[in-house]
């Protein structure tokens, strides 16, 4: 009886010692799963629940190709799955139809980074497995090559993209407006509208969907109003990037018009 009691005591001690060690181990550091759980419980900063038209899941097999304007959308959607579902983004500040076609090892390349690797935008659908490609480029071309030159590069880029992914559906989004205060001799809203009208014609001739984002966010003077601009500062800002309010309008428009 005494032996049994002693053995029971020993078992209790062993159990308590090892269970204590186990709990210590667990308490140090958060696992990725825990991080995800925390994220799922937290409320997104913005939601687009009011949008009708296509559901966010429509974008699950879509990839956005664009410049710094699209980059803002990427960051906006980062913590909000209700915005554009599982849409992927291949975009970079200063990306245009022209420099997107430069070699990956070009010393002046501005190619996007996708999942930690520098990639060519023309391979966006191929890399992401997307069936739909929504492109918004041109702002970084028109100031240098003009509306016609930019459209020529757009056509070349499109051919390259389709050579990698011949079955994707293409959606071209218009270049978006600048604030009047930031218009200059290089890029003004008339030049942007000129390019957009040429882009629309190109889309109509080739069966691509044209999405006029420009007129969703412009004011009565066809300029980007300050209330929608993310960088309106006279010196540092460019007067072209969106704020969250403009992103919401953009997303809502896309859901209703894709």
């Amino acid at each position: 009886m005494k032996k049994i009691s002693l053995l029971i005591c020993v078992l209790i001690v062993i159990t308590s010692v090892f269970s204590g060690c186990g709990s210590d181990g667990k308490s140090s550091g958060a696992s990725p799963d825990q991080a995800v759980t925390t994220a799922a419980k937290s409320t997104p900063d913005q939601t687009s629940d009011s949008a009708t038209g296509e559901d966010a899941s429509w974008f699950d097999d879509a990839v956005f190709v664009g410049d710094s304007v699209t980059n803002m959308l990427n960051i906006y959607c980062m913590n909000d799955p209700e915005a554009l579902g599982k849409a992927q983004f291949v975009c970079a500040p200063s990306l245009g139809f022209t420099n997107a076609q430069w070699a990956l090892d070009d010393e002046n390349n501005v190619h996007p980074s996708y999942k930690g690797k520098t990639v060519l935008a023309e391979r966006a659908a191929e890399l992401t497995g997307a069936n739909k490609v929504l492109i918004m480029l041109g702002m970084n071309d028109i100031g240098i090559y003009g509306a016609d030159g930019a459209l020529d590069e757009c056509k070349k880029f499109t051919q390259k993209l389709l050579s990698h992914s011949p079955n994707v559906k293409l959606y071209f989004q218009s270049v978006t407006p600048k604030m009047t205060s930031h218009e200059d001799n290089t890029i003004d809203n008339n030049l942007i509208k000129d390019f957009d009208s040429k882009l629309e014609k190109f889309c109509n001739e080739n069966g691509y969907k044209y999405l006029d984002v420009y007129h969703q966010v412009c004011d009565e003077t066809d300029a980007l109003p300050e209330k929608y601009c993310g960088d309106p500062e006279p010196d540092e800002g460019q007067g072209i990037h969106f704020n969250t309010e403009a992103c919401e309008i953009w997303i809502d428009f896309l859901k209703k018009n894709v």
């Binding site: 010692v17 900063d45 913590n79 996007p112 999942k115 970084n140």
Partner: protein, 168 residues
């Protein structure tokens, strides 16, 4: 003294020895435990950083999806992370603190952050000179299993807090 008493004594001695060894293990375990409690999680470190450094218009990474989105990192690579990215799309401020799962994973994380950093430099150097200058002053660093990319006008101060909080 009967035979039964002798056996009982021996058994008691053995059990006492086992108990002593277990107690020692327990004590060393408790020491490790208290050390772990003193080591802040990266979420705590980042909270500390944000309390001491002004970081505006910042979207924090709330799930592992963001690390896959921007860096191609999955939960096979890390045990914890913290950070985020400036929400304007033009300001290049971007901070990521990662604790890799092991040495091999740390090398993979370092490579991913190096690539991301190089992209940021390339994308800005001919486009936004002010931001490019800021990005070029920053760097990716590795401290054993910890890997950081701190791209911020306050990179030095943030690195200092990071290292101090983790005793690096």
């Amino acid at each position: 003294m009967c035979k039964g008493d002798g056996k009982m004594k021996k058994l008691s001695l053995v059990l006492a020895a086992v108990f002593a060894v277990l107690m020692l293990c327990s004590c060393s375990g408790a020491k490790e435990g208290s050390k772990a409690e003193n080591t802040k999680s990266l979420a705590q470190v980042f909270k500390d950083i944000r309390s001491k450094v002004e970081i505006d218009n910042f979207n924090e990474y709330k799930s592992g999806d963001s690390l896959d989105r921007f860096y191609g990192l999955t939960d096979k690579d890390y045990t914890e992370f913290a950070g985020g990215i400036n929400s304007t799309g033009t300001n290049q401020e971007e901070i990521l603190l990662v604790k890799a799962k092991d040495k091999n994973a740390a090398a993979a994380v370092k490579e991913a952050l190096d690539n991301r950093y190089k992209s940021k430099v390339a994308q800005n150097k001919n486009y936004n000179p002010q931001q490019a200058a800021m990005v070029e002053k920053c760097k990716v660093e590795q401290f054993d299993l910890y890997v950081t990319m701190i791209v911020s006008p306050n990179a030095e101060k943030i690195t200092e807090i990071f290292k101090s909080d983790l005793g690096l």
